[in-house]
Amino acid sequence: MTKIKVVHYINQFFAQIGGEEKADIKPEIRQGIVGPGMAFKAAFGDKAEIVATIICGDSYFNENIDEAKKTILAWVKKENPDLFIAGPAFNAGRYGVACGTIAAAVKEELGIPSLTGMYTENPGADMFKDKVYMVATKNSAAGMRDAVKIMAPLALKLGNHEPIGASCQEGYIPNGIRVNFFEKERGSERAVKMLLAKLAGKPFTTEYPMPSFDRVEPNPPVADITKAKIGIVTSGGIVPKGNPDHIESSSASKFGEYDITGVNDLTSETFETAHGGYDPVYANEDPDRVLPVDVLRDLEKEGKIGSLYNKYYATVGNGTAVASAKKYGAEIAKRFLDAGVQAVILTST
């Protein structure tokens, strides 16, 4: 078997250039191994070789994501390795985000197998664990040896395009893809052990975590609603007639932004619903039944609200993946904030 060619990504600290004061250094590429690459080299033996190491400051990467990504991707493409490794980043937040971003980009944009590693509570973990194989590490660089022990064999498998087993076998953070494997003990035996642990108040790990429901603390109320700029958004799929953005009736792949400057009433001639998840007759008859523009304009005129933001957002809640809904929500929130919106009404069907 030929040696797997690896490109390694690390930050300024692990390249021993410096700490926080050097976090703004621009990306650079060096041939061969730098810093933690030595540990990987030892673990790979003659099966793989780090041909180049890319170094970038954490602040620089996070403040210039697009540019940093572009530069690094071009270098990686030129090296054309069999595998890309970023980090591990342990508990360093910006390093984690950088590792996740670049590892995911190499995989998605260059189609090169890619691996990173970090502490599960690193913000980069939640952001990228579903996008790229990510090994869970300890929360400090003292865990380097343990991290490499798990990352190196997984890296070799990825580089050789071997099938990847379940998360608990390979050591990567569960990525939402369920993989079968044979356990040593039968299910009933594992169930008895799990029950004994649960009864004793000891830690146990469920084999199928229920879909999680996280919570966000409520924000303080609007101080004076009569002065506030109100933004509106609906998951009920209200779009200008003809659905100009072709928003899908279910599992929508985008959201729409529509200008309602001068629009005082949504009518069946001008607007309609793109939502495929409910009987559309009533919403098409009078779209205000889903998105109450008419009433809000009245309230605006009467001074009961400061103003109605002149753009509204529409998605289709039907069958849209949680991850997409999250992404749309974050993007819409950003646009509201940029426009100075102070409070939001979300209507759903």
């Binding site: 369920r178 003990e185 009933s188 035996e189 008895v192 799990m194 469920t206 084999e207 229920m210």
Partner: protein, 440 residues
């Protein structure tokens, strides 16, 4: 004078079953049916006569499938371990073959290492496949057994439910016939299973957590039924069993869909949750009883049954339960209802299920979910695709393969290999934790 306190302390509510295993290393057809030196000899003429007593069956063919052989059995209806009641009340398969009597104590013999497998195309989409070798064999527990296969053909114009009934009884009768051959033998190994009443339990095992096994039984209609002492399980309200009762065949499968996660009769007789709880009984826990409940179609039935299950857990003063599911889809709702309501009584739950996460493993695994279900054992993703090589011999109906769940017209390739989801394999993702397959 009648002294209640004394009476309660005196009364012994210990139920004890001695299960003797007769190891069967091989099966051969012969002129005389007998078990000699671990070999089961079968006179097929006698067995045929027995099966054909049922006028709904036109003909029956017998075959033998051994571990490691290049043999495929399909479509499998049921798998049954032959047993015989040596002493104690009742007989095996009470209320169906044996008389209506409470079983679970005394002495029972089991023919270990073998099974009666019934095959037959009851409906056109009949499921279930057992490969005796190759990659598929790892997914079915029944590839490790010497199987006596009965392929039953019905009389013309028979109704589906009559055919199902006839094949179900053919299997049970054959199992009883074979079990009888062991009556005067000496068991190769004997295991003793003993449970006790509430009073003894509290005095005998103070400080040990009181644990029960809550078993959900598929009970919805034709091809989806389970029988308890001959009673259709959809007509029961949740009730309590001594865990030894199912070892005498108190629970029988009448279920032919969802091959991977239905419980064949063999799984009820050898329930692994029961076995593994018994293994800890008196050591780390006190195995109080088995609670059986159903999985009906009607939603009010689901609510009632889960209410009752939780109520029983509370009345029995339990600390924990293991909850197992059977089948695909709507039982997920029963599973979550049971889990939520039992946990609400302060009883800790570990549940066993399997997953339908799609061929890519990316979909939501269950049709229902709740945050309280924090302890879950999984028997794997039933949508996983597998390629099964051609076998030299097929017992049953080979044209059936493209019609198995999760397969399509391309599933059966011209060279005889099959590409399909593992849900077509009998017992692949059994939800009583019978196998080792899992997923993360």
């Amino acid at each position: 004078m009648y002294n209640i306190a004394e009476r309660q302390m005196e009364r012994s509510v210990i139920l004890k079953l001695e299960l003797g295993y007769i190891d069967i290393k091989d099966i051969k057809f012969a002129d005389k049916s007998e078990i000699k030196d671990g070999i089961l000899y079968v006179n097929t003429e006698e067995l045929k006569k027995l099966v054909l007593e049922d006028e709904d069956i036109k003909s029956v063919a017998f075959d033998i499938a051994k571990p490691g052989e290049s043999v495929r059995i399909t479509p499998v209806k049921d798998v049954i371990e032959p047993r015989v009641k040596i002493s104690g009340r009742g007989g095996v398969f009470p209320g169906v073959i044996g008389p209506v009597d409470t079983v679970g104590d005394g002495v029972t013999y089991a023919l270990r290492g073998m099974a009666v497998v019934t095959a037959g195309k009851i409906v056109g989409f009949q499921e279930g496949l057992i490969d005796m070798s190759g990659p598929g064999a790892a997914y079915t527990p029944f590839s490790k057994l010497n199987n006596l296969v009965l392929v039953c053909d019905p009389i013309d114009g028979i109704k589906q439910h009559e055919y199902e009934h006839a094949v179900r009884f053919a299997g049970l009768k054959a199992a009883v016939y074979l079990g009888e051959l062991a009556r005067n033998l000496k068991a190769d190994e004997t295991k003793v299973f003993e449970t006790c009443g509430i009073v003894e339990g509290l005095t005998k095992y103070p400080g040990l957590p009181r644990v029960a096994y809550v078993q959900m039984l598929q009970s919805q209609g034709l091809m989806h039924d389970t029988y308890v002492y001959g009673v259709d399980a959809k007509k029961i309200v949740p009730t309590i069993l001594h865990p030894t009762e199912s070892m005498d065949g108190a629970i029988l499968s009448g279920n032919c869909v969802s091959a991977c996660d239905k419980n064949p009769t063999y799984v009820h007789e050898n329930n692994s949750v029961v076995a593994d709880l018994f293994a800890e009984h008196g050591k780390t826990l006190n195995f109080v009883c088995q609670i059986i409940t159903n999985e009906n179609v009607y939603l009010a039935d689901k609510r009632r049954s889960s209410d009752w299950t939780a109520k029983l857990c509370k009345m029995l003063n339990l600390d924990g339960v293991i909850l197992s599911q059977e089948g695909f889809g709507n039982p997920d709702t029963d599973l979550i209802m049971n889990c939520k309501k039992i946990e609400a009584e302060g009883v800790k739950v570990v549940m066993i299920t399997d997953e339908y996460a799609g061929q890519d493993g990316k979909s939501q695994s269950l049709a229902d979910a709740d945050a309280v279900a924090d302890a879950c054992v999984t028997a794997g993703n039933a949508n996983q695709v597998i390629v099964l090589p051609k076998m030299d011999k097929v017992i049953g109906v080979v044209e059936q393969v493209p019609k198995l769940a999760g397969s399509n017209e391309h599933s059966l390739r011209p060279d005889g290999t099959i590409e399909a989801e593992i849900q077509i394999i009998t017992g692949a993702t059994n939800e009583t934790g019978f196998g080792t397959l899992s997923a993360r």
